[in-house]
């Protein structure tokens, strides 16, 4: 982590305190909140966003952004159905292939950004349309059902009492934290985000770093797609719409600066839990699904505002 110990304490600590406060308030609002069943269920629901938020943290630290993650999720979900049902592949192979397509989509993003020097914003805005368009075109709005029972263990089952996908999220989160905080690749990520030119002049392969990060973003979106399909038992072409909002909110709320150079995985995880807790609390209070996205939008704007204030107070 590139923050000094003192500023780590400042930002993540504030976030941690905020989380505790929010949890406390929500627990008061509804006695259904702090039950084991609810908490585990929330863990299940937040996995897809959580997984994608991990590589997104890397992306935003390098000063970029990936708006196409939701579309990649949708495309991979559709292709999972196509590979299995239309092409007759065995389900495990279809799953693996779908994830590969995700990685490929991410790689294309990375190539557009590094080879053609298109700014990440517009590159992923264009692929957002393209990938979603492919999903819609390929699926023709038909959905695929009838997956075998064992498939649903992934999205609806449990291992040792904890939802399956939550284990996956935990493992990935630990891995991502290790890579970002401990490895040379993590250092390269921070360097590219803080000063890309100096990173290049120091012998860091900037293009390769970016390429890997965007490919990872696509790959993880593919994994999230498989989990999503398993959880809702069907595939539809509009899956994943709006995912990018939740993901970016979680990352930014977790202290990653939208301008790059700063951020941690643990911050993203706290941000993720906060967002999920908010959604859950609102739902338990009777607010419908659409109402919650209003709140998420407001939270995003406030998170950036707060982040701006923090960085002006002597961090950057």
């Amino acid at each position: 982590m590139t923050l000094s110990l003192r500023s780590f304490m400042r930002h993540e600590a504030v976030l941690g305190i905020l989380l505790v406060l929010v949890l406390f308030v929500l627990a008061q609002q509804s006695d259904k909140f702090f039950t084991t069943a609810n908490i585990l269920n929330q863990g299940r629901l937040m996995t897809e966003i959580g997984l994608i938020a991990l590589p997104m943290t890397f992306v935003i630290i390098t000063g970029g952004i990936d708006l196409s993650v939701g579309s990649i999720l949708g495309l991979c979900a559709i292709l999972l159905g196509v590979f299995w049902q239309n092409l007759g592949l065995p389900l495990p192979a279809a799953m693996a292939l779908a994830v590969c397509v995700g990685a490929l989509a991410g790689l294309v993003n990375g190539l557009i950004i590094t080879r053609f020097k298109v700014p990440p914003l517009i590159a992923t805005l264009a692929t957002l349309a393209l990938y979603r368009g492919l999903a819609e075109g390929i699926s023709q709005a038909r959905s695929v059902r009838g997956y075998p029972e064992w498939f649903f263990v992934l999205g609806q089952g449990e291992v040792l009492g904890v939802p399956t996908q939550l284990w996956i999220l935990i493992v990935f989160a630990i891995g991502a934290a290790a890579i970002l905080g401990l490895t040379t690749f993590g250092r390269a990520t921070y360097a590219v985000g803080a000063n890309e030119t100096a990173a290049r002049f120091s012998g860091i392969n900037v293009d390769r770093t970016k390429l890997l990060i965007y490919t990872a973003s696509g790959l993880v979106s593919g994994i999230a797609a498989v989990i999503f399909v398993s959880r809702v038992s069907t595939t539809r072409s509009d899956m994943g719409t709006g995912v990018e909002l939740d993901v970016i909110t979680a990352v930014v709320l977790g202290g990653t600066s939208i301008f790059g150079g700063r951020g941690t995985i643990i911050g993203t995880v706290i941000g993720l839990i906060l967002v999920q807790a908010l959604k859950n609390g609102l739902a338990l209070s009777g607010v419908k699904g659409d109402g919650t996205i209003v709140v998420i939008g407001v939270v995003l704007i406030f998170a950036i505002l707060a982040s701006n204030l923090f960085s002006r107070n002597g961090d950057g």
């Binding site: 360097a191 803080a194 100096a198 150079g261």
Partner: protein
Amino acid sequence: MTATPASSAETAPPLVELRNTSKTFSGIKVLKNVGFDVRPGEVHALLGENGAGKSTLIKILSGFHTPDEGGEIRVNGRPVSFSSPRDARKAGIATVYQELLLFPDMTVAENIFIGHAPRAGMGALDWNEMRRRARALLDDLDSHDLDVDARVGGLSVANRQRVEIAKALSQDARLLIMDEPTASLADADVRRLLDVVRRLRERGVAIIYISHRMPEIFALADRVTVLRDGALIGTKDIEEVDDASLVSMMVGRSIDQLFPKVVVPIGAPVLELRKVSFKDEVQDISLTLRAGEILGIAGLVGSGRTELALTIFGITPATSGEILLNGRPVTIRSPQQARDLGIAYVPEDRGLQGLVKPQTIRENVSMALLDRISKGSIVDRVKESALARDAIARFGIRARGPEQRAGQLSGGNQQKVVLAKWVSTNPKVLIMDEPTRGIDVGAKSEIHALMCKLAGEGLAVIMISSELPEVLGMSDRIMVMNGGRMVRTFDRSEATPDVVGAAMTHAGASHAGGAA
């Protein structure tokens, strides 16, 4: 100010005058009680090392900064205050900066008149009038070949500069400030620019000319002012000074006292270039560099020195020619390859290319050798901290510790961090590009001492510098570049300011000095 020969201009107030002007930034006084004036139709050169306060001075004159309490600006004898660059422009003061402030997607005509475009009926912009007037302005500047409808982004640096000058004149500038105008220009364009300056002077426009190039100053200036460390050292008529006296005013000591050159045994050839070229920016460079040797590369800015360094370092890989390291041919297509081969580059622009300012000293020092201090891919923090502490001690970096943010250090200490980063990679060749730019004199000597020590340990050093005294004082051999080519090489014994300076302004390639 010194006395000047009597003339009618002496009794009239100067065009623009600064009195008792100081400027403080975050507690640091960058200008200390400076007095400065410019007369109509005068070319007044402003000299000083980087950090001397020149850019602050002109920023005050052009309305970007306000002087500290007690300082005064007078135009035609009357006190004024500028709250924005616009005010200064209305008072007839215009500035042409090094980083040109132009709009790449707009035409030449529009760039010239942005903010004050001619109007037709009902307040609509009159494009025809704009183009006509732009054409007239450019013709006045003898730029007949510059199309007013051309997109500025596609123009050469010289042409863009002409647009900036036309822009200044379009608002009836009485005083034109030019900041290092020839820094990025080729010879032919430099000559054209000097003509333009003379022409403006004839028309009564006063010019403040900031440059470090002696030949131009002596060709153009009527008076010269030297700043050092934010203070005014003196303002003299041009007849009263020469190269040596100006240098000594800028630097404060005579040349020999500055650089403690230690003569070191010179070993076997380490780096050899054979007719190396990069497009048309670096042309047919051949040189041999030996262990323990310091090769100084001199030349005017734009002569291709940094381009050569970037080609050796792999940022802009060579398009033809051969590079040999310890006798074996190598291909260098990226900075990683250069680094792995033992070539290190301390860049010209410390803040942008050398350091990651928001990161700590520790992270900066280890940035070029992350894979060497890591097990697998995991960075070894213990080794890294030891490396940083060692660097701080060895290079005399004044900091609170390895965890201090690099951006908080002074210029000299920042440069030491960059140097430490590269020396840690155990290079065989160290290229330093303007190693002491923007550094106070004390730190300068420290860097020079470090350079000599490194050479003594067997490193082969290439030192690119625009400061002639530094080049003369430190180098075992001097290579002069111009227009991307090597003009001459000198041995330490035969190099004097005159011959080197002459070679720097000599156009075209000359093989008289030998290719080695």
